[in-house]
Symmetry: D4
């Protein structure tokens, strides 16, 4: 059963949102991915969100650019936690999406990550689900240690080679 429900408004969002699925794969978290638009297929999207819990979804990740209504629609139709990923679209480097997603009205929360931050969206979903999943918690700890170790390896290489030869 899928634990994370990923939704995006267009297939043009796939190159960025793939960072989320790859991260979930690495953490061995199951997920479903859906293309559905807040503005072009609003009823499908509402149904998708309303029925998410019944499909076994525990956390939603919604990627959207520009006007970026999708995460808010998700949050309006379900009590599941919704993580919004603001995507760069054709202008303003994603600032339009960031403001649309972050500035939700009081009462209907969305958890915003950084612009094009699909990987962090997946990690936030994992942190949320790790509360009741000790195995996942272990995966997250290992992931954090792996990250730290990569940083230390890079530093070791820098100490060895110096700036010029890095």
């Amino acid at each position: 059963m899928s634990k994370v429900g990923i939704i995006m408004g267009s297939d043009s969002d796939i190159p960025v949102m793939k960072d989320a699925t790859e991260m979930l794969d690495e953490l061995q978290i199951s997920y479903e991915v859906t293309i559905s638009s807040a503005h072009r297929t609003p009823d499908d999207t509402a149904d998708w969100a309303r029925e998410a819990r019944d499909r076994g979804v525990e956390v939603i990740i919604a990627g959207a650019g520009a006007s970026a209504a999708l995460p808010g629609v998700g949050a309006a139709y379900t009590e599941l936690p919704v993580i919004g990923v603001p995507l760069k679209a054709w202008a303003f480097d994603g600032m339009d999406a960031l403001l649309s997603i972050a500035q939700m009205p009081p009462g209907v929360p969305v958890a915003t990550v950084g612009v094009n931050g699909a990987k962090n969206g997946a990690l936030m979903a994992a942190r949320i689900m790790a509360a009741s999943d000790e195995g996942l918690r272990d995966h997250l700890r290992e992931y954090g240690e792996k990250q730290a170790s990569v940083v230390r390896q890079k530093n070791a290489r820098l100490q060895e080679n110096g700036m010029g030869e890095y």
Copy 2:
């Protein structure tokens, strides 16, 4: 029968949106006003938009601040022209709402007016309906002439009194 359907997400929007109803009153255009939230009562809002034409609505004016999804929801559920009024909320002087409303995805248009521009929202609705309503066109022409005349009177007063005594 109401020709303009005005919708806003909260009664806190009334002080600004009143500029729209006063302008419509002055132009003798009938309207309905509804409070319904894109995020707190999404189904009501979808129904409101979907049934607007059947209620006789010809143009929609949707006022919204911050994340400002309301005009886009309207545009998603009806083929009527939707005018979006970005409202100042608690930060950024309305820039969040302006971007959310203006940056709609290709295929689902919203006609954005300026920040807190409810009066211009009403005038845009009137321009739209005047296409098939000669009486309204006359009202609009008179309104334009009245505006020009007010500017000229102010100038006359300035010429008489000068900057110091204006």
Copy 3:
């Protein structure tokens, strides 16, 4: 007789504004296209706007970048509804044009669409004219359904192929 009057300040705007004419072609809406500048040929532009209704124009679409005065000039010289398309120019990703077009003074409305949003400009014009044109309303409904169906096809392809192979 042309129903939509499209105006832009320079032939460098054609690549973006072509999105509008292609959309109008698809909806079988007649139009005229004119190059005239608010600042370089101000009298021509004023005449163009003043005489638009007599040429049969029902809605104006004005594309402009940077200082972007053209839509406002249109709105000043006619009571027709004017749709402004802010175009990216040489800086600020179109924010200059967006603010110039959206922030019209109370009394003279312009309907702003998103940056480079010529396609939505055409669709907004269609929504406006559909009020008194049942055939056009049918075209718009079909267009909306086609859009939804494209989204659903993309989703079906995604379900079949997954993220990796999409």
Copy 4:
């Protein structure tokens, strides 16, 4: 045992962060509140985050303004989900804090809510904990229904009184 750990850098943040504790009170969620600064008491803050899980904390809410490093510090020292609340400080309406908190590097996620959005921070915490707490899920559903009902009551009042007398 406290389920939500709230942290803020200064007592000047209390007036806004109180929106979070009041919301948690309403949802009957237990919490602890701590003042500790990312820059003035960095070791205390690191310890606080590192030991949060052992104190029974399931979700962290960190409010911070301006440079707003606090949520990121939290996320660096624990695998718990961290919700960041960007606070308005002395300039830029909270844009500095919003960018600092949202734009976390890939690998270390923070869930950002809107500027001064402490109430939504609390609701996001509740959504996260509701996954494994059916009673809380019921509270959230009731809260959502109450919200919707308030919107509908406001609308009913508007229909009765009109814009003028609202």
Copy 5:
């Protein structure tokens, strides 16, 4: 005969634009002041600009807020130098006007001063006219020396009193 032609779109601009007339008074430069709107009285405004030289105007100062088309209209209808003063209006601290006025298309220049910078608008007009007016050049030099002397007096007071007692 008036040497400087000042124009603004509304009498609400007078409190700021008075800084210009007071500066011109101090420099003993004659001027005319007119209220005329680029959008509400476009023909009057065009005529005003077209006939400015014949009225003896040598430099134009145009103050405008928000969409701020007025300086550009002036520059389109005359070869006189036009100084644009972006005024704060109801949002964005004057950024909308600053961009509208500064970002003129190549070929039609406007000389922009700072937001609400009516005083500097007057001084720029004076610098322009001083080219062919030695008396004015003397006035400008004296004004500059007076400014420097005020700064030095303030410094002297500070040296005497210190920060605490200033």
Copy 6:
């Protein structure tokens, strides 16, 4: 004798500032061009500005990016009119330079043109000098007419060929 004094801080500014010299060439206005930096050769720059009038300079055009102090330095050391051209540098699309140049303190004016607007800088200089130079005024009028005629030719071509073949 040179009438326009052009100054820029670095030879990397030449590609943009060449738009100014080409425009001046076209209008047959003589000029001098100097590289001198407000921060790297401050004394040279101060001397350059102080002695500009004695070299016959009537108007200064100063191009600068980023911190963009050069136009202000010019305005501080001479009573000549100074036109500031904000240049795009390594970030923010020239917004840093635009604000630095436009937001001069009251008392020391700079005439700002648009970002990278060297051509308009030259035309503004020409407008300023045309006050006392009838031949130049004729050149400017001809230039304006040529511009208008180019717009009309483009429009004629568009009418002939349509959008598709333009």
Copy 7:
């Protein structure tokens, strides 16, 4: 002999810059304070910077708003470290000054602190001078400990009183 040289362009900057002198007083660091303007008294300012070292100044703090050239002028005329304090002026919440001061051209550095950050300007000066002054280093350590202790006291009060009664 004064160790810190504070300069600001106007006496209107005193209320903010007093935060610097009070912090220096607390750290027992001697200082001089001068009002001199980059644009109104450029020669005085250049002399002030050029002779600073000879007066015993080791670090410069320059406060400036809007166009904010003062710190850069300082950095151009001396090799001493210059700390720039961007001040809020009449628009943009200090963003104009922040960009002017931070975006110095490569080769001439200014150390920028936050908007209105005069206190941090003083502390940065202290950190700089502490390199060769062990007593000052002790003062700074004590100041840091005092800061931490204030945070801890606030937290203790919060634990005792709770959010409601704080």
Copy 8:
């Protein structure tokens, strides 16, 4: 013994931060370079800063993009002067990092240079250390003279060749 401690969060920062090491090489200042992340290796980073003085570090240069917590972490764990270099990351041209680094809370100062301003970061470090190092002061003076001389050579080439042939 290293006098400047350079730290950055990732090896992707090396291409920009190399400007700092090259500048330090030119000024014959010794330095150490470390990769350590504020969020991925927080304890390493805290230790690095805490022990910097004992390793002989006199000034810290910390380069960071996006959320950019690294300079602030440095400043929190040491009394050494910390210079923050905001780096462009994946959005907003470095504005996110600039605000994160500049807007430090009162009490914990960071000296911010411009976006990607690693070279100025190195020069600021040199200015700081020159206070107690006469040889370094000489190097800085020579560097300033070399810079000025380069500007003058460029100007000489321009005078010889003109704009066209430069």
